[in-house]
């Protein structure tokens, strides 16, 4: 197939990839220093981290499982960024996707229906922020932070009240078996495949369709986009809606595709935090859908290896969080790549 070379090369531009890789490396090195400083063995820690995450089929399955929801919420943030919007509303769209899946699969136990409703409600919850932005000029940082909290309490009310499971009040009613996502193996459902497809579609949408072109153009320069016959307001709307849709899908799949519960836990314990985690994932993936696939897998790996790292190397969870923080900070250093390149050149010259 003669692919438009320009685009493929842009999609696979190695530089940001290498930059993120270096940042990760730096993060691990500083992390090692921290580990040593507190009396842990960094080699053992990292050995078990990777063994836990990648050393067995089970480990790989859990890496993929962890990668799924954050991949989708990261896409939400990335679409926002690419359209010039700082959309941090993925968090609450995720809640709505989850609760919609619970509610609607119990009306009609069909997987596709559940996913569809999850996406629909994720998108619906994104609408107020979109409308406020377009019609009232309300900055999305305010609206999405407020809507996250409002959505949080609303969903808490739904899960403790109307949709609590009468037989097991610590959860909502369960997703009926007929509507659960089929398993690939080792407790991993097809959610990861759907998430990767969603990322690819997002990439395709943004870089290969007229609509995506309009959205990206509006994101960089609204005025020029308008002059080119595009509709930046529509682009903003779509950005929120598609973003909400993706997070909603993430929320729905979180519940429909992950045992053992197949229900939302009381207190929202298993639907909380994914939107915020997604921001970091998106940034490390350079806000590019293809980068996000990799970066989500990386974060998934960190999470999946944590158990082994705690159990075998006895490194407490907090230290692992510290290392994650350092990696993310290191990603922010743009000249890392140049610095390393220079050092390598100098080394080679000698």
């Amino acid at each position: 197939m003669k692919k438009s070379g320009s685009d493929l090369t842009k999609a696979l531009n190695p530089r940001p990839f290498i930059e993120s890789l270096i940042a990760i490396l730096v993060g691990f090195i500083i992390g090692a220093i921290v580990l040593v400083a507190f009396g842990y063995d960094p080699l053992a820690a990292y050995y078990w981290l990777f063994t836990g995450a990648l050393g067995s089929a089970r480990g790989i399955a859990s890496t993929l499982k962890y990668a799924t929801p954050i991949m989708l919420t990261a896409l939400t943030f990335a679409i926002g960024t690419r359209t010039g919007i700082f959309n941090i509303g993925a968090e609450s769209s995720f809640y709505f996707g989850a609760i919609a899946a619970v509610i609607f699969t119990n009306i009609w136990a069909n997987m596709w229906f559940g996913l569809l409703m999850g996406m629909l409600f994720g998108a619906l919850w994104a609408l107020p922020a979109a409308a406020l932005k377009v019609y009232r000029g309300v900055h999305e940082v305010i609206s999405t932070i407020m809507l996250n909290w409002i959505g949080w309490f609303f969903v808490l009310w739904l899960i403790v009240g109307p949709y609590a499971n009468p037989n097991d009040p610590n959860k909502t009613i369960r997703i009926p078996e007929a509507a659960r996502l089929p398993e690939i193996g080792y407790g991993l459902s097809i959610a990861i495949i759907i998430a990767v497809i969603a990322a690819l579609l997002t990439y395709f949408l943004l870089w290969h369709t007229t609509m995506g072109f309009g959205m990206r153009a509006s994101g960089i320069n609204q005025k020029a986009a308008r002059y080119a016959g595009m509709n930046p307001k529509l682009a903003v709307m779509w950005s929120f809606i598609i973003g909400g849709l993706l997070s909603g899908l993430g929320g729905a799949m979180k519940i429909m595709g992950e045992g053992p519960g197949y229900a939302i836990s009381q207190g929202g314990a298993n639907i909380y935090g994914f939107g915020f985690d997604g921001i970091g994932v998106s940034l490390v993936g350079r806000n590019h859908p293809l980068g996000i696939i990799l970066s989500a897998l990386f974060f998934g790996m960190l999470r999946a290896g944590t158990a082994m790292m705690q159990a075998r190397a006895q490194v407490p969870l907090e230290i692992i969080k510290v290392i994650q923080g350092i990696i993310v900070i290191a990603v922010a250093i743009p000249s890392l790549y140049d610095l390393v390149k220079k050092a390598v050149h100098r080394g080679a010259a000698q």
Binding site: F86, G137, I142, I145, V322, G325, V328, V331
Partner: protein, 297 residues
């Protein structure tokens, strides 16, 4: 509602306002200079922790507050170095700082005090309060009001403020007039984080007299929303922060009355903020070069 209730709500709202206002005033200043940070949540948490240590070591709450400021300063320097001098992305380090805090603080509490997850400050490490027989108020409320006022005044009335705003609106213009864009931006980031540091220390050594591993409770993000709400104006931030504190206090006061489900009461401050912004304030225009690294070449 009787007079006592009104006073309770008022005092609660004033105390609750402090961390939000301080952080949003700092954030507003920093963004006026063009430096965005979303790491204030982490700054609050870490400075609550380190502020408490300073207070205990010295036996003075004020030293604790300064310790919080110092924590903020150091984190601000980190952020400033990355964004201003290395021209990095402005959002990423904040996320990193937040993650870092979630690790450092619980670990630190256990390592330093030997109690898991929480620590109570001794009386001598807590700030003196203005007391009546029923209520007490922290002098930090007045300090906060003063800081908001002074920050506003400096930002809009003095050469320093003019330059800071110029650097955030159009760094080329400032640069062309010989203003050292990097210096102003860097120290603005430091100031912003320093105020957040003060806010964090306030939470531990003053407001609550304790350290808990999740005590920041989303206030760093609320402060950012308040900053936007205020149109990047420290004086309006003061009002916005108080309003938020007020609705929160009102919600808390209404909660035991159970007129509507508790979850809906808890939404009140957020809904009111949204209504006020959508209905009255509307479009907020950020500083033009906000969050954009400035490179000459």
């Amino acid at each position: 509602m009787n007079a006592g209730d009104v006073i309770t709500i008022l005092i609660t709202s004033l105390m609750a306002m402090v961390p939000i206002v301080l952080t949003s005033v700092g954030a507003a200043w920093s963004e006026r200079a063009g430096v965005v940070s979303i790491g204030y949540e982490g700054v609050l948490l870490m400075s609550a922790f380190f502020g408490a240590i300073f207070a205990e070591l010295s036996g003075h709450a004020t030293i604790g507050l300064l310790g919080g400021v110092l924590t903020g300063v150091l984190l601000g320097m980190l952020h400033g170095a990355l964004t201003v001098y290395l021209k990095g992305d402005h959002v990423i380090p904040g996320i990193g700082i937040n993650l870092l805090a979630m690790g450092v603080v619980p670990f630190g509490i256990l390592a330093y005090w030997g109690t898991a997850g929480q620590h109570q400050l001794p009386d001598n490490a807590e700030l003196w309060h203005i007391k009546t027989s029923t209520v007490e108020l922290s002098p930090m409320v007045f300090v906060t009001i003063l800081i908001a006022l002074v920050t506003w005044w400096v930002l809009f009335k003095t050469p320093l403020g003019l330059r800071v705003r110029a650097v955030g609106e159009n760094p080329e213009a400032a640069d062309a007039l010989g203003i050292n864009v990097e210096k102003y931006r860097f120290w603005s980031a430091v100031y912003g984080h320093a105020l957040a540091g003060l806010a964090g220390a306030y939470m531990s050594v003053d407001w609550l007299g304790l350290v808990h591993k999740t005590m920041s409770g989303g206030r760093g993000f609320i402060a950012l929303a308040n900053m936007v709400f205020s149109g990047w104006n420290p004086l309006v931030s003061l009002i916005g922060g108080w309003l938020f504190g007020f609705f929160e206090a009102l919600a808390t006061w209404l909660a035991p009355k159970h007129i509507i489900p508790g979850q809906f009461i808890l939404m009140l401050p957020y809904i009111m903020t949204l209504i006020i912004v959508a209905g009255i304030i509307g479009k907020a225009r950020p500083p033009k070069a906000d969050g954009r690294p400035y490179k000459r070449e």
